[in-house]
Amino acid sequence: MDASEPSPRWEHFPHDADMGIRGIGHSKAAAFEQAALALTAITIDPDKIHPNLKRTFSCEAPDDELLFVDWLNALVCEMDTHKMVFARFHVMINNHQMEASAWGESVDRQRHEPAVEVKGATYTELSVHQLPNGCWVAQCVVDV
């Protein structure tokens, strides 16, 4: 990762069996939002998703890292239960509590051509930390 680049972004990093996701942003919340995009991109190109429907999420955990995994798993559960995909996210974090909104739509198998589904976010390579340039990074491996 190029730590000198300050713009918010997401990326995938390799793992033998599964996939690593990483979000980078100016704040912890922005890093969580970018990581959610990385999660989506495992299954579907986010640009193909129409952000028409809004869902809200609340998570609470003893530390930032568990909170990050909770956030991803809340999304995974919503996606699987209601066959939805999300392309836009807004996260607010206050002392290991978060409120979030996600905008997306129902899976359209023709238009989205979804690839692999995510089973869950893991604690492997899990890290939420701030870089020397002030950017925040949130990452972990997800099971696919």
């Binding site: 995938h12 390799p14 793992h15 033998d16 069996a17 599964d18 996939m19 495992i42 299954t43 579907i44 955990a61 003893p62 568990l66 995994v69 909770d70 798993n73 995974v76 559960c77 699987d80 239960t81 066959k83 129902s106 899976v107 198998r109 989205h112 051509e113 979804p114 690839a115 692999v116 589904e117 089973k119 869950g120 976010a121 893991t122 604690y123 492997t124 899990l126 491996v141 099971d143 696919v144």
Partner: protein
């Protein structure tokens, strides 16, 4: 993996001597080449598992071991409740009881060829696969509880399959000790429309041809001949298992301090077997095993319906159903003493040797069938457990090849459409809702399954019976 960190005991057995907080050694069963190819993370994960309370004998890795989360994929470890042993949600994984089942068809390749396209199409229509797919069955609360308690027995009772199928499923199709009340409402909701679905990723439904048999008496006893057509189904406990894994990982991480457990890696989240949390997880995990068994049973029924439409003379009998992400209570002889152990197999297959009481009576002389999945363009294998393997890693063997590269790398090297065309030229028909998914699962993205299976046989974990090549592959 750095070979200098291991002590070779034989050509296919490598030991990691206990250091630091390791309570037992690590033991890797693999050829030198396979060990060399393993990521250093596998070494770390084997040694981390060796630090867990109550672990018995060793932390084992199968020939296909690769970097997982917490446990390596291809990891086996047993724990003794009487010695402070633990049960680990991370040691079972998210896709609880993911497994493979194989069906005889009574057909030869010449029977399939004239209707191959049609068969591929009807299988693809009948068996929901891929992201966003749902089954035809919707389970209400009562039905969900009955399914979670009854597994494949519940499915057969409701018309999905035949009573004789149950003889060829581990636990006779029903895992005892399931506690549906320990499964959250969220997990149940996630599953209510997913019964009888394949899922995605490396899960598949294949029509395979037996292209080689080994150790003739064994293949004859299993009723396998060159040219036979088999059906292979690889899927698991779907959203319910994933949600149980997710929830109990967190619960166990948060409770570790209370139980005085120091986790070298949070993904090794565990709880004492006899603790309320340990018992709650075991009840939920067993319910997920039943979900997986019921799911594969329903998929089997859908496959039979597809065959009945165009090949009505086919007789799809169940050969065997194995799970490869489980924790099961088993009796094993340690020293001269029989002990009741909680055996975790993460990406590893149970492979009991001949004469084991948990094997169906008609397979007692042969050993438990072990089904090893390959890729959509390479081979799958049928093996059987050995007497020797019972003294090696609690009667366990490998479960597949493992990836040789990431999904991202695969999509840079291959395009799904081209993969489908290339395989069609080799006589393999692919049906999938996702071309990108096909590219990610391209045969070249996986290690050589033959090398893994040969190592398992050389290590005496299991014996080869047959090699199969796909003719049709339905991918999610």
């Amino acid at each position: 993996m750095d070979l200098s960190l291991l002590t070779p005991v034989s050509e296919h057995e490598w030991h990691i001597l206990p250091t630091g907080k390791m309570r037992v050694p690590g033991i890797v069963y693999a050829s030198e080449d396979l060990v060399r190819e393993m990521d250093h993370k596998v070494y770390e994960q084997i040694t981390n598992v060796a630090t867990l309370p109550g672990i018995v004998q060793a932390s084992y890795a199968m020939p296909d071991a690769h970097w997982g989360y917490g446990f390596p994929i291809g990891g086996v470890a047993a724990f003794d409740a009487n010695r402070g042993g633990v049960v680990s949600a991370g040691g079972v994984g998210f896709d609880i009881s993911c497994g493979v089942r194989a069906l005889y068809t009574g057909l030869k390749k010449k029977d399939i060829e004239p209707v191959k396209q049609k068969l591929a199409d009807i299988l693809y229509r009948n068996v929901p696969a891929g992201v966003g797919s749902t089954g035809r069955l919707h389970l209400d609360t009562k039905g969900m509880h009955a399914m979670l308690s009854g597994g494949a027995q519940w499915a057969v009772k409701h018309g999905y399959g035949r009573p004789e199928d149950l003889h060829r499923i581990e636990e006779r199709g029903c895992m005892q000790g399931a506690l549906p009340d320990s499964v959250s409402d969220q997990a149940k909701t996630r599953q209510q429309d997913e019964m009888g679905t394949l899922g995605s990723g490396n899960h598949y439904l294949e029509i395979q041809e037996v292209v080689e048999t080994f150790h003739d008496p064994l293949s004859q006893q299993l009723g396998i001949q060159n040219g036979d057509i088999l059906v292979s189904i690889h899927c698991g406990s779907r959203g319910l298992g994933h949600q149980i894994g997710t929830e109990f990982l967190k619960k166990m991480v948060m409770a570790a301090g209370k139980y005085g457990i120091t986790l070298p890696d949070r993904e090794l989240a565990c709880a004492p077997i006899d603790s309320p949390l340990g018992q709650e997880y075991l009840g939920a995990m067993r319910a997920a095993i039943n979900c997986a068994l019921a799911n594969r049973q329903i998929v089997t029924h859908l496959v039979r319906q597809a065959f009945a439409d165009i090949l009505p003379h086919a007789d799809l009998r169940l050969m065997y159903d194995v799970s490869h992400n489980t924790c099961k209570v088993e009796e094993h002889v340690i020293g001269n003493q029989s002990r009741r152990l909680f055996v975790h197999r993460k990406g590893a297959t149970r492979a009991f040797g001949p004469g084991h009481p948990d094997i169906p009576p008609d397979l007692q002389a042969i050993g438990q069938p072990v089904l090893i999945g390959g890729t959509m363009g390479t081979f799958s294998y049928l093996l059987v457990g050995t007497a020797e393997s019972m003294n090696m890693a609690y009667g366990s063997a490998c479960h597949g090849a493992g990836r040789s590269m990431s999904r991202h790398q695969a999509t840079r090297l291959w395009q799904g459409g081209a993969v489908i065309e290339d395989l069609a030229k080799e006589g393999i028909l692919i049906r999938s809702p996702s071309k990108r998914g096909v590219a990610e699962e391209a045969p070249g993205a996986y290690k050589d399954v033959t090398a893994v299976v040969d190592a398992a046989e050389a290590a005496q974990l299991a014996r080869k019976v047959a090699k199969m090549r796909p003719l049709i592959c339905i991918k999610g």
